[in-house]
């Protein structure tokens, strides 16, 4: 094998095991973190129920997917869950509007401090947690169907003649595509529409927004709807890409918060950048670089170990470390959001 081919193999290896998975995972985190940041920007509290809201929406989507599958309806090469997605989104919008009406509105009328909202959201989190486990159970569920690969490793190897293969799964391509589309639409909405601008104004300076005649109830309602849509998208894409398990979805709250705070809480752009940074840090820190060393180092120099910084079991530690470092060093985050 020539040196050039070795470098190519190393590049493909990194693309296959780091770049593509991290891009997909980063897109899922970005969608979730934007939801957290939107709620923070408008309602001024960190919503601990976001992970479980995501689990609820994904659960509804899975039920609906099963129904479609048993009725013999599919989306061809794409996962059937895409057809079920609108139902999951509508159900979740109804859920968050109801929790707002019966939980958060009460504290809003009383002008409670943010910590009260946070504790209330922990309560909502536990309720949803229980509800989802009651309805679908705590087990791991796979609901991906349709064509598995856009490019499979075998095809790639055959057409390029390289030893390493690059595979792109349909769900990964779908995740990245949907995330780009959703974020583009969100930014168009926030930057160009009257309602979007009024939300930014409300987030920027609530008192002045009220003096301008902006209706706070409407702004809050739209924020919940957007957060629900983003949460279900993130949840369904994550579930398609990996699998659905209520406990994992609850755990995703940590990288969401890490991403939102790293980017600057209240700043949608920051949440997206933060999502990708957290994902790339997690994937690069838990990847075993042994094979990469085989390609790049002279044969005698390759160490015996796996060359893995951190076991994948500890991947949530990455989010924790990022969170702690940001809060210590730059609490406003990259894009100068608010300080929690």
């Amino acid at each position: 094998m020539g040196g050039f081919e070795n470098s190519l193999n190393a590049l493909v290896l990194l693309a296959n095991f780091v770049l593509v998975p991290a891009l997909a995972y980063g897109s899922q985190l970005a969608l979730g973190a934007v939801g957290v940041t939107l709620i923070f920007g408008i309602l001024r509290f960190a919503n601990f129920a976001h992970g479980d809201t995501m689990a609820f929406g994904t659960m509804v989507t899975i039920f609906c997917t099963w129904a479609l599958q048993s009725a013999g309806i599919s989306a061809g090469p794409l996962p059937t869950a895409l057809l079920a997605l609108p139902v999951g989104i509508l159900a979740t919008i109804a859920l968050v509007l109801l929790t707002d009406r019966f939980v958060f509105r009460f504290y809003r009328k009383r002008r409670s401090p943010p910590v009260i909202y946070i504790v209330a959201s922990v309560g909502v989190m536990f309720m949803l947690n229980g509800l989802v486990r009651l309805l679908i159970g705590p087990d791991d569920r796979k609901f991906t169907d349709g064509e598995r690969f856009v490019i499979s490793a075998r095809e790639f190897k055959q057409s390029t003649g390289l030893a390493e293969g690059l595979s792109i799964q349909t769900t990964q391509a779908l995740t990245i595509g949907v995330a780009i589309l959703a974020v583009a639409l969100l930014f168009w909405f926030l930057q160009k529409t009257r309602t979007g601008k009024s939300m930014r104004a409300f987030s920027d300076n609530e008192d002045l927004a009220l003096l301008c005649g902006i209706d706070p109830d409407r702004v809050v309602r739209v924020a919940w709807i957007l957060a629900a849509v983003l949460a279900v998208l993130a949840g369904v894409l994550y579930g398609l890409d990996k699998s659905f398990k209520p406990f994992i979805y609850f755990n995703l709250l940590l990288p969401f918060f890490a991403a939102a705070i790293l980017g600057g809480i209240g700043q949608p752009v920051g949440a997206i950048v933060g999502g990708y940074i957290v994902a790339f840090t997690e994937v690069t820190a838990t990847y075993a670089y042994k094979q990469l060393a085989v390609y790049l180092l002279p044969s005698g120099w390759v160490p015996d170990g796996l060359l893995q910084f951190l076991s994948t079991d500890y991947k949530f530690a990455i989010s924790f470390i990022i969170l702690v470092l940001v809060l210590l060093i730059r609490p406003t985050g990259i894009f100068r959001g608010r300080v929690l």
Partner: protein
């Protein structure tokens, strides 16, 4: 032209002991009215009472002869009272143009015509239209803040210390603009720390002490009054 906005014999505060005692403030269309007085005299409180931001235990507030005492601040804004708070009076993360658009939120149209008129008065609005309002200088921010309040075409404009923290040169410039605003027929009512300069441009001045009216006269008469000069204008 008669009295447009008036608070008569207002008594009230923020829940504790009353800050305003039997305080009367009136503002006439096309005139500049200034509230001055020492620190803690209740100047800003009197203005906030007119906007409905505190509960009055006695007295009444009228806009163009109608009692508006039961309306919320938002409803009073919709009725034609523009208010520029002393601090945090712009949307710092939004562009100058977006700030103006938010000021036009209650309008049926998008306010493009008003923006054209306001640009005549505040050229900075056009020059910096696409810049983040938070990146502007203190004087420019105040102009954006005043323009934002004018977008709704109010009949009364309330300014809470519009020249706080700006240099004397900028202060003179701001006062010039405020005179122009009053010339369009709007009743301008402002609270000012820079009492002497403010009274110079004022048609009418209210000197408050301890939440009560101490002196009320034309700006020139107050400036000429030896007692007012000695007690409140530093000689």
């Amino acid at each position: 032209m008669g009295v447009l906005l008036a608070g008569y014999e207002m008594t009230g505060g923020y829940g504790g002991p009353p800050i305003l005692q039997d305080c009367t403030i009136t503002a006439e269309a096309g005139q500049i009215t200034v509230i001055v007085g020492p620190n803690g005299a209740g100047k800003s409180t009197a203005m906030k009472a007119l906007l409905g931001m505190l509960e009055l235990s006695a007295g009444r507030v009228e806009l163009a002869g109608r009692d508006i005492g039961l309306l919320s601040p938002q409803e009073r804004v919709a009725q034609g009272i523009g208010f520029v708070p002393q601090t945090q009076n712009i949307f710092t993360g939004m562009t100058v143009l977006e700030n103006l658009q938010m000021g036009a939120f209650l309008r049926a149209d998008d306010g493009a015509e008003i923006i054209e008129q306001l640009v005549q008065l505040f050229p900075v609005l056009a020059e910096k239209a696409d810049q983040q309002a938070g990146a502007l200088s203190g004087g420019q921010r105040q102009q954006v803040a005043v323009a934002r309040a004018l977008m709704n075409e109010p009949s009364v404009l309330l300014l809470d210390e519009p020249t706080a923290g700006v240099s004397p040169v900028v202060m003179d410039e701001l006062f010039d603009r405020i005179i122009e605003v009053a010339k369009t027929g709007i009743a301008v009512l402002m609270v000012e720390q820079n009492a002497r300069q403010a009274l110079e441009i004022a048609d009418r001045g209210f000197v408050l002490v301890g939440g009560e009216n101490r002196f009320t006269d034309t700006g020139q008469a107050l400036l000429a009054d030896a007692t007012v000069r000695r007690s409140f204008l530093g000689g």
